[in-house]
Amino acid sequence: MRLRLTGTVTGVALAAAAFPAAAAAASVERICLPEVTVLDSPRGLPVGVLYRGDRVVVLKRDGTRRWIRVRSAAPISGWITSRSVRGC
């Protein structure tokens, strides 16, 4: 059991070392605001709504760090404000 866990951790560490960009981008976050509208682009059309507790994978952060592009489990993809996943 311990051996398997060590192996998994080592694997993840190696993968992160091999693909630093992918490891940094694909962090899993939880929605912290009561309700968040998902947009197709930072100034675009609403394409979904997520609620507090929904999990999302962060795919990209914009240059200003105000927006992140996420994908939920459903999967719903789009942009949300980065403060939507901050503080919980």
Binding site: S41, L45, G48, K60, D62, S72, I76
Partner: protein, 473 residues
């Protein structure tokens, strides 16, 4: 003569009038006209100048009604009721009278804004509608007590009840008016959710919803549409035909066949109501904040602008049920998906499924976040639909900043916009498939573009449609 007139009882005057003696009505007029005018003036408040007209109208109605009917009546209270109803009618007429916006008050003088006037008027008319909706005995008791200052003993005598019963009537009337105000202040979204859930479950909506409907045109319009949908559905499938179809299906597949499995699957997931479509001019059931609506916001109750539609469906869950794999919403012919409407009711994450692209296509598929639903309730999901403009955009904004450059579109499924023409440059946004863009400059394998949403950045030229690159100078 005056003494003689004073001595004649109301019942005798009514009897004489019914016997064809019009002079009896003159006596009634003399006896009650002034009193009724004072009563009407109190009812009419700011429109007291119409009190005389209202009383005249009430007396004309009274004259006709007394001659037509031969039931015994208590003349004083009956006339007051008539005047009260005529006053309510007069106030209803005033509700729809236009507000003068010309000739504004000179600067410096205090005058309420048209918005304040509208709010006050709505409040007054909401109150009057609540009073009008009361049962007759409660309404009469409340008005005579509040407006005429009648004591409970007098009121009881007039109503033919005990003073204790009169008190109870007044209390109930006040309570109902308060409930009516609460119902009026209830969000339209809550009420419409209840209407859709009730429609779906074939039950009556709550009492609070019905109270809200008395004063809310948008919610009444939704109820009418629901009724129309049901009538049309019933007309399509006569009950006998439906029974025959279901019977035939059961016989063909048997109780343990595939049909039984199908029903079990339906029972385990939500029940989905038929789509509800709203077109231009219909009141919006929700407040929409999106660049696809003029001005960026469309308030609930506001008529949908031309070229715009909304399609929604209600999903009703019992506790522990799972959401369906997907729900389909089809926009009307000639329109495109223009963004999701804010969902109402249960808080379940919902959004367009992969393959459903806002601004492109007519059929939206929605997917849900949760595996199972924690509590029973209804979720209303919907999509906005818009006719695309000359640019191919469903956005209501952006055309003003279009500039001279021609509009083209992105051909790749999704690409990030970069701050500079390099793959490692910071991201500034993204471009979806078929999104209208303007090419501002070309630099090798990169194009500087501006999207219809107003975002600017560099995108790989390969992501744009070829004809755009050819036509770009």
């Amino acid at each position: 003569m005056a003494v003689e007139v004073r001595r004649i009882a109301d019942a005798e005057l009514v009897r004489r009038l019914r016997a064809g003696d019009d002079a009896a009505f003159d006596v009634i007029h003399q006896r009650y006209a002034k009193r009724l005018e004072r009563y009407a003036a109190r009812m009419l408040g700011g429109r007291r100048q119409h009190a005389e007209d209202v009383v005249q109208e009430a007396l004309i109605r009274a004259h006709r009604a007394i001659q037509r009917d031969h039931e015994p009546l208590h003349l004083a209270s009956w006339l007051h009721r008539l005047v009260r109803n005529c006053s309510l009618d007069e106030l209803s007429r005033a509700r729809f009278a236009p507000i003068a916006v010309e000739d504004p008050e000179p600067e410096g003088s205090f005058a309420p804004s048209p918005h304040m006037v509208l709010e006050q008027r709505d409040a007054v008319h909401g109150l009057l509608a609540d009073i009008a909706a009361l049962p007759a005995a409660q309404r009469h008791a409340l008005l005579r007590r509040e407006l005429d200052g009648l004591g409970h003993d007098e009121l009881a005598l007039e109503l033919g009840v005990t003073p204790q019963a009169s008190k109870q009537l007044v209390h109930r009337a006040r309570l109902n008016v308060i409930k009516g105000r609460e119902a009026r202040d209830t969000s339209c979204l809550t009420v419409q959710g209840d209407l859709l859930a009730a429609h779906d479950a074939r039950r009556r909506a709550s009492a609070a919803t019905y109270r809200h409907l008395v004063t809310c045109r948008a919610c009444r319009a939704l109820r009418e549409q629901l009724r129309t949908v049901r009538r049309e559905t019933l007309a399509l499938v006569p009950p006998l035909g439906l029974a025959f179809l279901l019977g035939g299906l059961t016989i063909k597949l048997g109780p343990t066949g595939k049909a039984a499995g199908g029903f079990a699957a339906v029972a385990a997931s939500a029940s989905i109501a038929a789509p509800l479509m709203l077109g231009p001019g219909d009141p919006s059931p929700v407040t929409v904040r999106s660049p696809a609506v003029p001005g960026g916001t469309l308030a609930a109750g506001t008529p949908l602008p031309s070229g715009t539609a909304m399609v929604s469906r209600a999903l009703t869950f019992t506790r522990g049920q799972r959401p369906p794999a997907a729900v389909t919403l089809s926009c009307p012919e000639g329109t495109r998906i223009a963004g999701m409407l804010p969902p109402q009711g249960l808080r379940i994450g919902v959004g367009y499924a992969p393959g459903t692209i806002a601004g492109t296509g007519r059929v939206a598929r929605l997917v849900f976040e949760r595996g199972t639903v924690g509590r029973a309730g209804t979720l209303i999901v919907g999509t906005l639909c818009r006719r695309a403009d000359a640019r191919g955009s469903v956005l209501a904004t952006g055309a003003r900043a279009a500039g001279a450059a021609p509009w083209t579109r992105a051909c790749a499924s999704h690409r990030y916009l970069r701050a500079r023409p390099r793959t490692d440059a910071p991201t500034v946004g993204s471009v979806r498939a078929q999104q209208p863009v303007q090419i501002r400059a070309l630099d090798g394998r990169w194009a500087r573009v501006r999207t219809d949403t107003g975002e600017r950045g560099w995108v790989a030229a390969a992501a744009l449609c070829e004809e755009a690159l050819v036509s770009h100078p």
